[in-house]
């Protein structure tokens, strides 16, 4: 705790912390209040008289209804969920295998391969999206969920591998050697002995990967074109803005509902998520 008098505690602790929390969370409050505010109140100019921006006495569900009745929002949610789930599973399998090989097995170029995977971890999507769009089209994957299911692992696998490598290194080698002496094959030892111990690491990698794929935008924007194939971030961006007209009510409703699945996953596994986040930078 801060040493000194009560006022010091307020000035150096409570007030700054409160300000941080307020600023970090206010946009979400604004999202929620806009979702339930009727259009008549929404479009009042900033200097209108008797305008209460922070509360509404006439909450409405019209924006949420609009989202489900007039747009393909539920389809976008389903697409996003499917793509995030499948690409996470693919990345976890690849990442666990590669992480195990790089952390535990002796083979030529192990070090070089580890570095290569670390470098791909740092390749941003925006470096490759134009040639990749071409490749996706040539493979006949354009405008299908596969375009994303197969490309998301490119930024998820390096991260999962990196995280799992660190995790496997922390598991004592003796554990595996015991199993091998008892007659287990190398693969069996990995599958039955090491993997169960590594479950917390796999959870962290999985949850982090899931939120990353839910968040992805530029690949989804470039590779998908028909409204029924889109993911939530792209659908909300392209279908709720007509020219210069923003449908702010449904837009905020879409932003709110589109955030809820990640928020739920996150809230159940905060500790795993934080472990994944800090592991992702520490390695």
């Amino acid at each position: 705790m801060v040493e000194g008098g009560l006022w010091r505690r307020w000035v150096f602790f409570y007030i700054p912390l409160t300000l941080f929390v307020f600023v970090l969370l206010f946009p979400f409050y604004w999202m929620i209040i806009t979702t339930f505010r009727p259009d008549g109140e929404l479009y009042k100019p900033w200097n209108a008289v008797a305008y209460q921006p922070f509360w509404t006495n006439n909450p409405t569900f019209e924006h949420i209804l609009y989202l489900f009745e007039e747009t393909m929002f539920s389809k976008w949610m389903f697409n996003t969920l499917l793509i995030a789930a499948v690409s996470t599973v693919i990345s976890l399998i690849c990442g666990v295998f590669a992480g195990y090989a790089l952390a535990r097995l002796n083979f030529p170029w192990a070090g070089g391969l580890g570095t290569t995977i670390f470098v791909t971890y740092l390749v941003p999507q925006t470096l490759l999206f134009i040639p990749l769009a071409d490749i996706i089209r040539n493979f006949g994957l354009g405008d299908t969920p596969w375009a994303l299911i197969l490309t998301y692992p490119t930024f998820l696998i390096p991260f999962c591998t990196w995280l799992m490598m660190g995790y496997f290194k922390s598991i004592p080698k003796e554990l595996e050697e015991c199993a091998r002496i008892d007659g287990a094959s190398r693969f069996q030892a990995m599958y039955h002995i090491i993997l169960p111990v590594a479950v917390p690491g796999i959870m962290s990698a999985g949850i982090f990967a899931f939120t990353l794929s839910w968040n992805e935008f530029i690949y989804a924007l470039v590779f998908l074109s028909s409204p029924e194939q889109k993911t939530v971030p792209v659908g909300v961006t392209s279908e709720l803005i007509r020219g210069d007209v923003f449908f702010w009510g449904p837009l905020m409703a879409g932003a709110l509902l589109g955030s809820i699945p990640v928020a739920i996953v996150y809230s159940f596994f905060v500790e795993h998520y934080v472990a994944g986040l800090t592991g992702s930078v520490k390695g």
Binding site: M31, S185, V222, A255, V270, T278
Partner: protein, 309 residues
């Protein structure tokens, strides 16, 4: 190793495939193949293809022909590209300084014991986990020229009498984008640095306190040097992400007003996908490469140095 494994299986020889997997090299190969295929197909191949594409005159639907460095010469002389380069460095530099300073401050606040700490820590990460595009829309609505709640608040408090056109003025638009990036990045810095702070034994600080060090001295001479390795990695990581950012600018301004807020990625998108000049778009994307490469090299060298020590 192989001999030991086969004899322990009780004399019965395992199938050839299983025996092959007993060899560490073959097992490693088998385990790495899926990763190698995916990364090769969707990172290495597009990278090579991107380089080739940037040397042609390809457009959407037109194969184009080899033109050498013409696209790079063209963007080198392009006024909008100059603004883009300047914007990207300015955006990356300013946001990184603020994210580090505010993130460190927040991490130090959270490193204390108080009631509801776990709760607050969970909540402040929200800006980082909620999809960027979606939270950026909330900001865009808050910065809306006519209905801005920020303007309303400033007006009610008596700070302004005229509206501030946040996204209509080039400098203000850039400032708005920087504010949102900092808002989104501070939780990531804070939580990563907090993890770093928690590995520092409190006894070190106590010892320094007994020796008469003031709080500021304790931070500067004890905490900061020990936190530096984590800080370095977090900063380099964030610099790469920010330098290559797309979503935030795409949603807030689309690069406008009058191409004043473009970053590499948004300008590449506008030319490559928007107007269909694939080759030029690819060239602009690739122009990011030298800087990214430099950061990655620094990061690799730094990690190696830390590992050797």
């Amino acid at each position: 190793m192989v001999a030991l494994a086969t004899s322990s299986a009780g004399g019965k020889r395992p199938a050839p495939r299983a025996r092959l997997l007993e060899d560490e090299r073959w097992l490693a190969f088998a385990l790495l193949v899926p990763t190698a295929i995916l990364l090769g197909l969707f990172i290495a191949y597009p990278f090579v293809k991107g380089v080739i594409l940037s040397l042609t005159s390809a457009r959407v639907g037109v194969e184009g022909e080899f033109v050498g460095l013409k696209n790079f010469v063209k963007i080198w002389n392009d006024g909008i590209f100059h603004v883009t380069v300047w914007n990207t460095f300015w955006y990356t530099g300013v946001t990184t300084v603020f994210k580090l300073a505010l993130g460190l401050w927040l991490a130090l606040l959270l490193n204390r014991h108080f009631r509801g700490k776990a709760f607050i820590r969970a909540f402040i990460l929200l800006p980082f986990i909620i999809p960027t595009v979606l939270s950026t829309f909330a900001w865009k609505w808050m910065f809306d020229p006519t209905f801005s709640v920020i303007n309303w608040t400033l007006y009610q408090l008596g700070f302004i009498t005229q509206r501030i056109n946040w996204l209509g003025d080039p400098d203000l638009a850039m400032t708005s984008i920087i504010i949102i990036n900092v808002w989104r990045g501070v939780p990531f810095f804070a939580i990563s640095l907090l993890a770093g702070l928690q590995t520092i034994s409190p006894e070190l600080n106590e010892a320094a306190a007994i020796d008469g060090a003031r709080p500021w001295q304790r931070f500067w001479h004890v905490t900061w040097p020990l936190l530096l390795p984590v800080t370095m990695v977090v900063v380099l990581f964030s610099v790469i992400q920010t330098f290559a950012d797309f979503q935030l600018v795409y949603v807030m301004t689309g690069g406008g007003p009058a191409n004043a807020t473009h970053l590499f990625a948004t300008y590449a998108y506008q030319l490559g996908i928007g107007t269909g000049l694939l080759a030029e778009g690819a060239a602009i994307s690739l122009a990011m490469f030298p800087f990214l490469f430099l950061i990655v090299v620094v990061q690799l060298l730094y990690i190696r140095r830390v590992e050797v020590r």
